[in-house]
Structure formats: C-alpha cells, structure tokens
C-alpha cells in the first residue's frame, strides 16, 4: 500500500483506533448490545431469525465490499493505467438479479413461519387488558377482578426532572422501574388485549419479543408464554407526548403456584411480597398505594367514575389529597411551584382558570387541548387537585367537591 495517500493512511489508522475503542466499550457495557434471546419460544425464534439475516447480510457485504476494495486497490490509475472498455453483460445482470432473489426466498420462508405462529392467539389461559395512558399503563386481569395502574417508579421520577441534581447511575434500574409491575404466571399462554385511552402507545417487552401498538378505540391481541421466572423490563415504544420516555413496563413472571397466591392476595386487597423471582426494589407492593383498582372488563372511561360518589370533603382533606395528586400527575408540566414552563406549559399560579369559575377548570382536566385528558382519575382526585390548584401559590379560587366533577363528567 505504498502508494496510499498520507491522508488515507492517517484516516485508516484513526478508523481502526476508533473501532477498537468502540469494541472495548461494547464489551464493558454490561447490559449487552444485541437483541436479547428472551425467555419464550417465540423470542428465541426471533433471535435466531435476527442472526440469520444478519449473517446473510454480512456474507453479502464481505463479497461486495471485498470486490470493491480489491478494485480500489488494484484498479487505481497508478497500478492500472489503462481502463478496460466493457460496459454491459446481460448474463451477469441476470445472475445478480436471480441470486439475491433466491437468497431472499430463503429468508422469507422461516420469517413467514415465525410470523404465523406469533399471530395465533388461540387457546390463552389468562387474558390481561393493557391500556396505555399518557403516561402510564393500566393492567386489568379479565375475569379476575384485579386491575391497577403502573407508573414510573418515584425514585426514577425524581431523578429524571431537569436539573434534579440526582445522578441517574445511583438510581437502581433508572427509568425501567415501575411502582407496580405486571405479574404473570410462567408456563401459561397469556393473551394481552392492548388498547389506549388517549394517544397511541406501544407495549414492548424485548424478552418476550412482544411489541404491539396500543391504539385508542381498537384492541390489538398478542400473546406470550414465559418459560422462566424473572423480571423483564420494557418501555412504551411509540411517541406519545412529553413523557413518552418515562412510561416503562415491568413484567414479573412467577411460578404458577406463587402467581396464584399473588392473585388471591391482590383480590383481597392485601399486600404481597414479590420475593425471589423479582430482584426489584419495588418488591413491596401495597395495592392500596396504587391508583384506584379498576374493575376488570368494564369500560375504561366508566371505571373510575364508579369510585366517585364520595360525599362532601373538607378543604383540608381536599388540599392534602390534591397535593399528592398534583405531584403525581400535573407537576411534570406545570411544575411543583405552579409556575409552568413558558411557552409550552402555562403557569397555574395566577392563572385565570384556576381563579375563575370551577366549571372551566374541571372541563380543562377532562379535555385539555394540548394537555392530556385526566378523565381516568376519580372524581375525588380531580376535585382534590382542582381545589389544590385553586388555593395554592396565591390563587384564590373556590373549593371543588367531587359531586361537581361528577356532574360535569359526560
């Protein structure tokens, strides 16, 4: 390669250096750099398929790039001063049309087989309805009367605020931890009925090789059959607004017996300690702490309303509860001090709506224009948070009672 320009040589050296740096970085990256093999029969098939296509591409790449590199080196003008003058050949054109075509058929057959398997949701033993909200997941075990919301774990949530000053590396499972995981039995075919309440989300757990869009107004079905107990993490995979990056999914797969116990405890409203299988610090899951359990099978919008008919509440009660609800739901945009973030998120401190008639305020929470709808919160929660907003940060609005909210819920 004596003739190679100095620039090309320097560039080649730095490419090699960068590549080895990158390679070492990959090996030090604990959590891998490849699609997981997963814990289901399907995920293993998908993994194999992934590698198959990958290696086919590598092989073709070696041939094409090899020929090209050879030509670049051997057919430079300094080595090969007189160009040949051939410029077409029907034979080779046919050859390099037909061969790739055959290779593709070789890939298409196993791919189609796997796809057909994946789409077969028959014979499920457990059905879970999964509903995406901005920005949390609701899980309802159909026919079991168990249901709950699952949101980003409070530790992650605290750390992820702009300028929180908390180092994410000190937060266990930063951004992939939830307050209450989805618990599933091992070895049973589980069917997910996936839908959404507001915008499109996508429910994705790589280890299960399940990714399906959650479409408002439609239900998509997928299934899985987990082979190994463990904790499997995923994320919402469809842009769903501001906190799209902050609605993780955690699935805890338990042996069948233990799952049964969990289910019983959950039905009885008792805390259940997710032990061995779940090395997650969210092991203690007091169900009461989660959002209102929604009766399974019922319509989403209707669900929270049933929990509504609480009577009159005192201002202190409303304010205390309201602060909780506010921190959990509203502070992300309107900020804890009610100052909002111009120009996108208006301040609530001094806001016309928070100081004016309550109707508009309540309506805003039901059908924000840019703001997500919060109609899935209970009347009591909405009343509390409205009261809180109307009486904090110098605001002097009226108190809002659950009945007022219920009256405006259409």
């Amino acid at each position: 390669m004596a003739k190679m320009g100095w620039m090309a040589r320097a560039a080649l050296v730095s490419v090699l250096l960068a590549a080895s740096g990158a390679a070492s970085a990959y090996t030090t990256t604990g959590n891998g750099w490849n699609t997981p093999q997963g814990v289901t029969e399907i995920s293993a098939k998908v993994y194999d398929l992934h590698l198959l296509i990958f290696w086919v591409c590598v092989a073709i790449g070696v041939l094409v790039f090899g020929a090209m590199t050879y030509s670049i080196v051997m057919h430079r003008r300094s080595v090969h001063p007189k160009p040949a003058d051939f410029h077409e050949s029907t034979t080779v054109e046919i050859v390099w049309t037909v061969i790739p075509f055959l290779i593709l058929i070789g890939m298409a057959i196993p791919a189609a087989g796997t796809l057909i398997k994946m789409e077969d949701t028959r014979g499920a033993e457990l059905s879970v309805k999964v509903t995406g909200y901005q920005w949390k997941w609701q899980y309802e075990y159909l026919d079991q009367g168990v249901g709950f919301f699952s949101t980003l774990h409070p530790d992650s949530n605290k750390a992820r605020q702009v300028g929180s000053g908390i180092d994410p590396t000190t937060v266990p499972n930063y951004l992939v931890e939830v307050d209450e995981p989805l618990v599933l039995p091992v070895g049973k075919k589980v069917r997910f009925l996936i839908t959404a309440n507001d915008v499109i989300h996508a429910w994705w757990v790589p280890d299960l090789a399940v990714k399906k869009d959650a479409i408002p107004g439609y239900v998509n079905e997928v299934w899985t059959k987990i082979d190994k107990p463990g904790t499997y993490r995923g994320v919402c995979a469809e842009l769903c607004g501001r906190d799209h990056g902050f609605m993780p999914i955690v699935v805890v797969a338990l042996p069948e017996e233990e799952f049964g116990k969990w289910l019983e405890a959950r039905k009885a409203g008792q805390p259940y300690r997710l032990a061995a299988a779940a090395p997650t610090q969210a092991a203690d899951v007091p169900p009461a702490a989660a959002a209102q359990p929604a009766p399974a099978g019922e319509q989403v919008a209707a669900a929270p309303a049933t929990a509504a008919s609480a009577g009159e509440l005192s201002k202190a009660e409303l304010m205390a509860k309201g602060e909780q609800v506010y921190k959990a739901n509203c502070a992300a945009c309107h900020q804890a001090n009610g100052a909002g973030m111009a120009p996108t998120f208006p301040p609530l401190a001094g806001s016309k709506m928070a100081n004016g008639p309550a109707e508009a305020h309540i309506a805003q929470m039901f059908t924000g224009k840019m703001m997500p709808s919060f109609r899935h919160l209970s009347d009591a929660d909405l009343a509390a948070v409205a009261t809180y907003e109307r009486n904090s940060w110098g605001n002097t609005g009226s108190i809002v009672q659950p009945a007022q909210v219920a009256a405006l819920r259409k």
């Binding site: 789409e119 949701t121 309805k129 009925l193 839908t195 107004g217 439609y218 239900v219 079905e221 099978g297 319509q299």
Partner: protein, 291 residues
C-alpha cells in the same frame, strides 16, 4: 424528435418576473389569517382578504401575461408541448389528491367499520370497547358522532347532477370541434352552455348541502360518513367552481378573438381539466352515493 429543432431554432425564455414571489406572499397572508382564525387569535379577517385579493390579482395578471404572450406569437410548438405535458402532470397530481380521500372512504368501509363491529381478528375491539355496534353503511360510528342522520338518495339531485356534468362534457367537446372548424360563434354558444351547466351543478350541489345541514342532520361532523361525504364532494365542488371560472374566462377570451383553430392550448387545458372534474364526479356518484 429531430423535427422539433428544425421548426424552432430558438428556445422561448421568459423575462424575470415578480409575480411568483408576490403570489407566495399573498398565500402566506391567507395562511396567517386562517391559522389565526382556527386558533382563535383575533387578528381579524384582514390578512385573509388582503392575501386573497393579492393572490387573485396575481393569478389574473400572470395568466393574462401568458395569454398575451401566446397571442403575440411568442410560443412555438415546443412551448405548446411543454404546456401539454405540464397540464397532464398537474392533473395527475390532482387525481392523487382525490385518491387520498377515496382511499379513506374505502378504508373506512372495508376495514375500520367492520373491525369496530368485531370482524376479522377484531372481536375484542367490539366486545371490550364498542359492545353492540354493528357494521353498517352509512354510519357515524359506534359513538354515533353528530347524532342520527339521513343521507341524500343517489337517484335524486345527485343523478341530475351526473347528467348535467356528463352533458357539459359533451358541450365542451362540441365547442372544441367548432373551434377547430373555425366556427367561432358556434364555439362560443357551446361554451355558454357549458358554463351554464357548471353553474347549475353548483347551484344544485349547494342546495343539497343546505338540505343536508338543515333537514337531514348530515354534517361534516357526522362521523366517518359525514367526513368522507363532505370532504369528497366538497373538494370536488371546489374544483367545479374553479373549472367553471376557467370556462368563463376561456369563453371571454374566445369572445375577444383569442385562440386559433390550429393552436389553442389554453382552451384545451381547461377542457382537460373539466373532463377530469367530470370523471371524479362519476367516481363520487358510484362510490359515495350509489354504493
């Protein structure tokens, strides 16, 4: 193609022109006004009217310039072919625009509405979210958006409108023949008939809309039926309006002596456009009204 160069040894190159720039400025003013209106920013209608006035004026000036160039003999056969190709591609783009809305109609009828009623693999969609909803067309969806409504029967006004448009396709062809035969008066009379048919169509279409809104409770907001119905027929109506105006302009140009029997692309372009509007209507009549 060798002859192209022999009969035109020089290309036609137009002079620099400020019209396109000003036209754009006018359009942007309209956009500003409309966007403000949609977002309840009270800038008032001034930008819309001003922008529209500018845009209309410029379009008029521009086309007039082209017409005068053409009448002044600045164009050769190649320019003529350029306009033909240009118009053909433009109409193709319009076809694709309607294609989007026809696509929405077919999608709703063949896929989304059946799915909502539980067809295919969508049983759970129906059971969990829309229990009791049954496939039907016309429909305003499981949420019965906009409340119950009635539709416009195909064999009343829409059928008359079909006849009108098809007839207008014939009259404009007659006018074209007359023009080629250098029978200007005849041509103008046929054009009058065409314009009149266009106006009739628009009148009937408008009364149909009024009927829909006032008596049938059929509105833009009547679910997917109302959406597809009004968007398809509405955009078509807008094209008929534009087409009618162009027909009128062409007629006026005929009356002041424009166009020659052997070269009259301005006329033909408008005729193509009119036939296109006609064909779209036939599609509408079949897929929106009859089926």
């Amino acid at each position: 193609m060798a002859h192209a160069a022999t009969d035109n040894s020089r290309y036609f190159v137009p002079q620099p022109s400020p019209w396109p720039f000003i036209l754009t400025a006018g359009l942007v003013a309209i956009i500003y006004g409309v966007a403000g209106y949609l977002e309840n920013k009270h800038w008032g209608p001034v930008p819309i009217y001003a922008g529209a006035a500018i845009a209309i004026y410029i379009v008029f000036r521009w086309l007039r310039g082209v017409a005068l160039e053409s009448e002044g003999g600045a164009y050769n056969a190649q320019v003529d072919r350029t306009y033909r190709w240009g118009m053909a591609w433009f109409i193709f783009s319009e076809v694709m625009f309607f294609g989007a809305f026809f696509g929405a109609l077919f999608y709703a009828r063949q896929l989304s509405v059946p799915w909502l009623s539980g067809e295919g693999a969508e049983l759970s969609t129906n059971q969990l979210l829309w229990p009791g909803f049954e496939k039907d067309w016309p429909t305003n969806g499981p949420g019965a958006m906009g409340g119950s409504f009635e539709t416009i029967p195909a064999w009343g006004v829409p059928f008359i409108n079909t006849v009108i448009l098809l007839t207008s396709g014939v009259t404009i062809t007659m006018a074209h023949h007359a023009l080629k035969a250098a029978e200007r008066l005849k041509c103008i009379l046929w054009m009058f008939a065409t314009v009149a048919l266009g106006v009739c169509f628009l009148y009937l279409q408008a009364s149909e809309y009024i009927e829909a809104y006032q008596h049938l409770n059929l509105k833009l907001s009547s679910g997917i039926y109302g959406s597809t119905f009004f968007m398809l027929t509405g955009f078509h109506g807008m094209h008929v309006t534009l087409g009618t105006i162009m027909l009128a302009v062409i007629t006026a140009r005929l009356m002041v002596g424009h166009f020659k029997p052997e070269s009259h692309f301005g006329f033909e372009g408008v005729a193509w456009y009119w036939h296109f509007v006609d064909v779209v209507w036939v599609g509408l009549f079949v897929f929106v009204y009859i089926l």
